[in-house]
């Protein structure tokens, strides 16, 4: 059962919510650093400005890749909020991310290429954990359908506590937060210039930013699934998880890509095996 309303609501409202989250994110980060910080609506001003700038692209294919990134991210999110198949959602998410990498590779710039390589490493790092999270939800609810998972009467987080922690771990990578912001970052501390977004400017960069808002809302929706038994607790949990990510972001320095890769695979393997084994021996499966 696919709910068109959920998909349409996601397409229309997600950029507004995502932009507001980004604004609140910057404000809270600033307060954590003892600064006043920009206005809450700053991300909208930024994107508005980017669309006012000159249209410069490194080559024609770059624009195609960015638009594909945008479209497939919306497809992934809309399918998720419509209650579709979780596996298809994850594949569409990966495909969207791959288009961003291709866009970065299409420009002949060493900075852009390093960013693209590091983005690929990030995808490799987080992908197993996302799949394990989906498998864990399937094991408990016997369905890959987001609609069925969301209407499961018991709190999923009680069955999948380790997988939930593992998912929070890779959420830091997906939200581009320190210490795992190895391919690009929202902060000024950018050693490899701007990583994967180096060669994008003006409207194309604006589109990447809007896509990231969609992605944030979709990922927080994924976190919500763990608490879907009660909407109120779910929303509080999502807010707390995001605050925790902000705290980690502001309290840690960026690590090397080797650590990102090894630690996220190790954690995915441990939490995945342990959590699923416990479920098996408890007789849930």
């Amino acid at each position: 059962m696919i709910s068109i309303v959920g998909a349409v609501a996601f397409i229309l409202i997600a950029p507004l919510i995502g932009g507001l989250i980004a604004g609140v994110d910057r404000k809270i980060s600033a307060h954590m650093q003892g600064r006043v910080g920009p206005p809450i609506l700053q991300p909208f001003y930024d994107v508005g400005k980017l669309f006012e700038k000159e249209k410069t692209v490194a080559n024609d294919s770059q624009r195609f890749y960015v638009i594909s990134y945008f479209v497939f991210m919306i497809f992934a999110g809309a399918l998720f909020f419509a209650g579709g198949d979780l596996l298809l959602v994850i594949f569409a998410l990966t495909l969207a991310q791959i288009f961003l990498v291709l866009g970065a590779y299409s420009a002949n710039s060493p900075y852009s290429h390093i960013g693209a390589e590091r983005e690929l490493i990030q995808i490799m790092a987080y992908e197993p954990m996302v799949i394990i999270a989906a498998v864990g939800m399937y094991v408990v609810t016997k369905s890959f359908n987001v609609g069925t998972i969301a209407s499961y009467p018991q709190p999923l987080v009680l069955f999948l506590p380790a997988i939930f922690i593992g998912f929070i771990y890779i959420l830091t990578i997906k939200l581009r937060k320190s210490p795992f912001d190895i391919s690009t970052s929202h902060h000024a501390h950018q050693e490899i210039v701007k990583g994967v977004t180096t060669e994008f400017s003006g409207p194309t960069l604006g589109l990447i930013e809007v896509t990231h808002w969609y992605e944030t809302v979709f990922l927080l929706g994924f976190v919500y699934l763990f608490f879907a038994f009660s909407p109120l607790i779910g929303i509080i949990a999502v807010a707390l998880v995001y605050l925790l990510e902000l705290l980690i972001d502001n309290a840690s320095a960026r690590v090397k890509w080797q650590l990102v890769m090894r630690s996220s695979w190790l954690i995915a393997a441990i939490v995945g095996v342990v959590n699923l084994a416990v479920l098996y021996f408890m007789g849930v499966v």
């Binding site: 600033a30 600064r35 700038k53 950018q190 060669e199």
Partner: protein, 158 residues
């Protein structure tokens, strides 16, 4: 309605400065001054920048770099020369190896004198630059090409 002046992103480049002005530029980002209040971000990537903040008197080594960075910034853009070396060459003006001011290489919109320029005056210079940025955008919208605006400014500088 315009967003340009609400979200100016800065590219900061040191063209043979003694680092005094650079430290003052970075001081603007600290909690004491916090220019992010105005949406100002230090980008480090010319393709994302709107304002080119440049310090130093420009020697033979970085003449081309300055021009290259300027050309990579998408229009509309403004250039702010920070410190007395950037505005006129300062005490290095007579040296054989310096251009003596950013305006010898690229058109400059705002001059912020001082040795080193204080953070307050740098912020003042950038706020002035925002007005010019708006003007350039309107000129661009009303049909006049950015190049024409630049040529005009080059003429004025000379």
């Amino acid at each position: 309605m315009t967003y340009l002046s609400k979200s100016p992103w800065i590219l900061h480049y040191d063209a043979t400065s003694c680092n005094g002005c650079d430290i003052e530029v970075l001081a603007c980002l600290t909690p004491m001054y916090d220019v992010e209040r105005f949406g100002i971000i230090n980008t480090g990537n010319p393709k994302h920048a709107d304002i080119f903040v440049i310090t130093g008197s420009v020697n033979e080594q970085n003449r081309e770099v300055v021009r290259n960075l300027y050309e990579q910034i998408p229009n509309p853009k403004v250039v702010v020369a920070v410190g007395i070396c950037a505005t006129s060459g300062g005490v290095f003006r007579e040296c054989y190896n310096v251009a003596g001011g950013i305006d010898k290489i690229i058109p400059v919109d705002v001059y912020v004198p001082g040795c080193a320029a204080r953070p307050e005056s740098i912020i003042d210079g950038i706020v002035t630059a925002l007005g010019i940025l708006e003007g350039k955008r309107n000129a661009q919208k009303s049909g006049a090409t950015e190049q024409r605006v630049e040529l005009q400014q080059e003429g004025e500088a000379q």
